[in-house]
């Protein structure tokens, strides 16, 4: 009724010829429906177009200019020069490498640990809701707060981590300057990202596992399959689309890492821990090179889209699921 069945004329808008056509005139009811739809859509969509769609298009345009910061001043069109600059900029490459490294350690750990927690929680047991809540706590806590907490935990002299590893467990023979070198700092950032994200993937995996029909498990158990075999043969194939979804989202999230790096190391020491977005932010808002900043963020967007497409294709190939 509301989604009218008149198909042929429905897409013709207000064209007078169509209305007059003998086949099927636009009823006043249909016209009112279209008008109402636009009225409901207009306020939100106009704001959306202004604050989101227009900036997306504009970002590419800005990246083609040597952007003049002063309002009204003319900016010089430089074509792809900002992109060429990136290709010859060692800090850009290091930031790209760090971003990739961060993604490479946070995605598998969040997947594996989130799935493990979900499997453990997918059973009748006491305090299940409480466990789930506590795992989820870091997810709802602001990035700013957890970043500052981790910075404090990994302080060289008097930080909790060195205190535990050095003074208590004697696993290390000196206080490590975690945030003072590239790879140790990136590992700290990876631990932070994993710790904050496990609860998210766990909730999604848990919901998916609960959707797996019990009958399948029982049938497999009757056939003598042990827990691990049942997990591989029954649960894993059933939640495959969800695994794909979580992977795609985590990869995108990993490439978008910003606040934690900004607040924990701010790209330092000496640009050793820059990631693409901290580097972009500094180029744009400290050095006011908007053209170069836009080029960096546009490259990031292209990488994210390419990765998402590749993954969706990879996950789609084996038939049978979804």
């Amino acid at each position: 009724m509301l989604r009218t069945r008149s198909t042929a004329s429905s897409s013709s808008g207000s064209s007078g010829a169509r209305v007059a056509s003998p086949r099927r005139p636009l009823s006043s009811r249909r016209r009112r429906e279209v008008r109402d739809a636009y009225l409901f859509l207009a306020p939100g969509f106009l704001l959306f177009a202004l604050t989101i769609l227009y900036p997306i298009v504009r970002a590419f345009q800005i990246s083609l200019f040597h952007w003049a910061i002063v309002p009204g001043a003319a900016s010089a069109f430089v074509g792809l020069a900002n992109y060429a600059h990136a290709l010859h900029d060692p800090v850009f490459w290091r930031a790209l490498g760090n971003t990739g490294f961060y993604m490479a350690i946070t995605v598998p750990t969040q997947m594996a640990l989130g799935l493990a927690a979900a499997v453990l929680l997918d059973a009748r047991m006491p305090a299940r809701g409480l466990y789930r809540t506590l795992y989820y706590l870091p997810v709802v806590t602001s990035w700013v707060v957890v970043s500052l907490v981790f910075r404090y935990l990994f302080i060289t002299d008097g930080g909790l981590v060195n205190w535990v590893l050095h003074d208590n467990l004697h696993l290390i023979s000196y206080d490590v300057n975690w945030l003072g070198a590239r790879w140790t700092a990136m590992i700290v950032l990876g631990i932070l990202g994993t710790w904050k994200g496990i609860g998210w993937s766990m909730v999604i995996f848990l919901a998916a596992l609960q959707g797996v029909p019990r009958v399948l498990h029982e049938a497999a158990a009757v056939d003598g399959a042990r827990a691990w075999a049942r997990f591989r043969a029954v649960s894993l194939p059933a939640i495959r689309p969800v695994v794909a979804f979580v992977t795609v989202i985590l990869v995108i999230g990993g490439f978008n890492v910003f606040i934690s790096v900004f607040l924990v190391t701010n790209g330092g020491p000496f640009d050793q821990t820059q990631v693409l977005l901290t580097y972009m932010y500094r180029e744009a808002f400290s050095f006011l090179d908007f053209g170069y900043g836009s080029a960096i963020s546009f490259i990031l967007t292209l990488i994210v889209f390419a990765l998402a497409l590749v993954q969706l294709r990879l996950f789609r190939r084996p038939a049978g699921s979804a």
Partner: protein, 281 residues
């Protein structure tokens, strides 16, 4: 199922709970340590040997954070921005979602496609053009600049979420109202919205959280300390008082308290929101 392995089951449950508890400890240590630090007198914060819990706990950091640093002001700014954003974003996205879910009109596929594309584009990519736009609209350094862009930024996800909620409402109910001569607005306001309370709650909570915690945009457009929201106030505060960790964490605890309270109350909506978005997709 298989009988006679009752004992084995109990042992398995024990292992399960042991592993989960170990995980929970890891999840909680940073929080507990943050709270413990916030109750330490400032001179003791980086003392060696380290004490996990304060020997002489004091609320001085909380008093100082709240009184001497305009924290009430920042808290109020955050609240104004988050409430205004949530109200505007949920209302506007519900209207858009209603149009997408219940009407046929030229351009529907295209416009909805644009909404979906916006969900995939990294928000940071828009930062520079949004900054230039906000400057052009004289929205720099004002809470309006936060509200307008937070609202715009939350529309796509909420529209997507609410559209699927609205589609699950049986059309027959609306048809009855149409027969009675009800306008589209009446149907939206009297039928769709009341029937979608769980969906609206989920959308509202996520929008509130997103704007309460937002950091980057606020950092970029706000300079005047009177306009700070909590996230940038805390981050900049830590920058200025590099060693006053007790004070920083007292402020942080104040900032995350409302979120944790909301989370405790609306846990079901949280989990349902996360899970449904994924499992349905």
């Amino acid at each position: 199922m298989v009988v006679g392995n009752h004992r084995r089951r109990r042992a398995l449950l024990g292992v399960r709970m042991l592993l989960l508890t170990a995980g929970v400890v890891v999840m909680l240590v940073p929080f507990v340590y943050m709270l413990a630090t916030s109750f330490k007198p400032n001179t003791m914060v980086l003392e060696i040997p380290l004490q996990f819990f304060p020997r002489h706990p004091t609320a001085a950091n909380y008093v100082q954070a709240w009184t001497s640093n305009q924290f009430g002001r920042f808290f109020l700014n955050s609240l104004i921005v988050a409430v205004a954003t949530t109200t505007a974003a949920v209302l506007l996205s519900a209207m858009m979602a209603f149009a997408f879910a219940r009407f046929r009109f030229p351009g529907r596929g295209l416009l909805f496609g644009l909404v979906l594309i916006a969900l995939m584009v990294p928000t940071m990519m828009m930062l520079i053009p949004q900054f230039l736009l906000a400057r052009h609209l004289l929205l720099l350094n004002s809470l309006w600049g936060l509200i307008v862009f937070y609202t715009g930024g939350n529309l796509a996800l909420n529209t997507f979420l609410l559209r699927s909620f609205f589609q699950d409402i049986p059309v027959e109910l609306e048809e009855a109202m149409v027969v009675d001569g009800a306008s589209s607005w009446t149907r939206f306001w009297r039928l769709i919205l009341p029937l979608s309370r769980p969906g609206l709650a989920t959308a509202g909570i996520f929008t509130f959280l997103a704007s309460w915690d937002e950091f980057t945009w606020a950092l970029t457009i706000i300079n005047d300390p009177g306009k700070y929201t909590l996230p940038i106030a805390i981050a900049l505060f830590q920058g200025q008082h590099a060693t006053s960790w007790g004070l920083v964490f007292a402020a942080s605890a104040i900032a995350i308290a409302p979120v944790l309270i909301l989370f405790a109350i609306f846990q079901r909506q949280f989990v349902a929101g996360i899970a449904s978005g994924a499992v349905k997709a």
